[in-house]
Symmetry: C2
Subunit: 414 residues, 2 copies
Amino acid sequence: MPRLAIQYLFVDHQLSITTMATVRIESIDFFYVSMPEILDIGDGSQDALLVRVRAGDNEGWGECEAAPLVSIASLVCPMSHSACKPVQASVVGQSLDSVHDIRRINNLVRTNSLDLLQADHTLSGIDIALWDLLGRRLNEPVWKLLGYRQSCSKTPYASVLFGDTAEQTYRKAKEIRANGFLAAKFGWGPFGTSSVRADVDQLHAAREGLGDEGILLVDAGTVWISDLDAARSRLDALRATRATWLEEPFVSGALAEYRALSEVSVPIGLAGGEGCHNYYMAKHMLDHAGLKYVQIDAGRIGGITTAKDVADYAVSKKVTYVNHTFTSNLALSASLQPFAGIEADRICEYPTELKPLAKKITKNTIARDAHGQVQAPEAPGLGMDIDIEGIKPYLVETEIRVAGKVLYQTPPLT
Amino acid sequence: MPRLAIQYLFVDHQLSITTMATVRIESIDFFYVSMPEILDIGDGSQDALLVRVRAGDNEGWGECEAAPLVSIASLVCPMSHSACKPVQASVVGQSLDSVHDIRRINNLVRTNSLDLLQADHTLSGIDIALWDLLGRRLNEPVWKLLGYRQSCSKTPYASVLFGDTAEQTYRKAKEIRANGFLAAKFGWGPFGTSSVRADVDQLHAAREGLGDEGILLVDAGTVWISDLDAARSRLDALRATRATWLEEPFVSGALAEYRALSEVSVPIGLAGGEGCHNYYMAKHMLDHAGLKYVQIDAGRIGGITTAKDVADYAVSKKVTYVNHTFTSNLALSASLQPFAGIEADRICEYPTELKPLAKKITKNTIARDAHGQVQAPEAPGLGMDIDIEGIKPYLVETEIRVAGKVLYQTPPLT
């Protein structure tokens, strides 16, 4: 890659003739980690794609909420044409001195990889790592770099899967309350896949387990795709059990069906947006889907940069912004940053059924305080310390060869 | 994969006790082919990802308009969770006896790979191959299986890049007319990247070269992203040169900007949609972007199945459907099928600057008839014969290893 070589020379030259603090991105390393066995359940904490970016003396970490192998391929693939370049081509060698540089890099990736569909998911983890790196370099938490004055307290909801039976769901709900959570979200599992009757039982079990004062959130996991009637037939039970929201009755694109459901679902608010992989998708949901809650995963939408743009737009539309997170505490910190300073947006997703791998990714955690609340960390960057030794046992050695050349090989984890 | 093994046993059992003609999909093979050198220009014919599907005695071929390596990874990647499975998990072992089966397989992929972003591009080539296979098996052209009674004549436009200079563009336009094309589309290259003045010169050069009666189409290749003013500043020159459409002034998601431009661009119609990778994205453009022409690439939107759904919706919205194609004649046939029978939608994209590789993919071509028109072929399936020997020199040997296992290796091309 002669172009990158020239850029490196340029850096050396710059550094030798000035004392300016410009740093350039020297490397992006992707680490694919996985539980030894992946179960066929809606639990996204079973594997992860960790991203390490290095620039000068600094390092930042991020996580893509994405298929690891596919995102690795999109990082390193050969160019197909001018608008289908590997993601790394728009990142390595770029300067990283300010927030402005991160947005510039985002724009480069989006333009140069316009026709590379996976690029949005891949960019997400890189963008998160860039914010972490810049925050550490400037000794500020990311939310401060985003322009917020404080990291507000959020009420975490325990995010779990429905039990296979209503009885299991009841027990899960009891346990969540016993663990001090005020709010719980039940999702996926059998919900929506069989009869209305079965779902009614599940909802009542969840409400009974949570008790009268608990906040009940329900996640249909797109199970009805775009079937308005299927969703409508669950509204009575959602009302009877006083659910606060119904999440993802449909796939993200089914704007008209979301809108139609929102017109008859009162007082149940609709929540959705986790599938959005760019700003426009989220904007269309905010403009046309009748949402009361927009749920954004910084690890999918393009990172913290894009997520913050959505948070700003949501404020203007009087829609509540909520993080979507079902993986590690690194991902949780990243997803909290974009709305850390929005006091009115109080509720936050807080995964409580993480697989051991997801718990091992960071040495520290975002724990609930004495009032049961959580905040985005005050420490520089994302405020999370990666546990290199903790991750190592889960590392999945990966190699991609194209035309006799090794394009990717799991880098040393040190 | 014990589940697939059971399915195979089931087939054998079925066949042994009945004489029904059920066939099941036995294999999906991806072939990555590329020119020896990829140039940093907006020419998508420099590489290709070919898809071969086999079921019983039948074979079908398709092409993904996508980054080859990334799509290969999405075919074979390990499962991350229940909604992030490799694409092949939803295809291999499925029955393929009717049009209904193809839609069923589409739905399976979309559900099981909901969180695998690249899956839509990958599904596209597979879906195309399934239609080709089914058409050959039933001895019918695909457009007939789609419900059309005839394959209507379309007026092809020569689709080329703007020259680096206005003079080059003029010469290209002259040549296109000399080659008997009534219509030409110029796109990408320097257009939109420097001054309005430079673009004005390019447009006048194209019009002059085409002559008064030529149909001039202009493709901005998303160069202004969402900058309404930049697009507006070119409208006078587009009107002066009597362009029929302005294509992709913005990225596909910029619906509000498309709409705003459409309100001041008359008589220039807006065209867009090639970036759509599912039905909903195209529907949103048809609902909210003020398009006069929707351009769908069957190799990106999920295949012929989804493209036909968009064509039907476009008819209901009185928007002209146009194929988007900038690769092989296999891709051209696939992209013609979804609107082959819509008599009113006459114009069709017809790439004329194909790299040698793209020309070698098929033995036969979709040639213009005595009236300069083209049609989707009358022969079974897509009507194209793959040139195995022609492709071989361009094959890119690829290997993906994960945790010591080879998940993908370029299959034998025989």
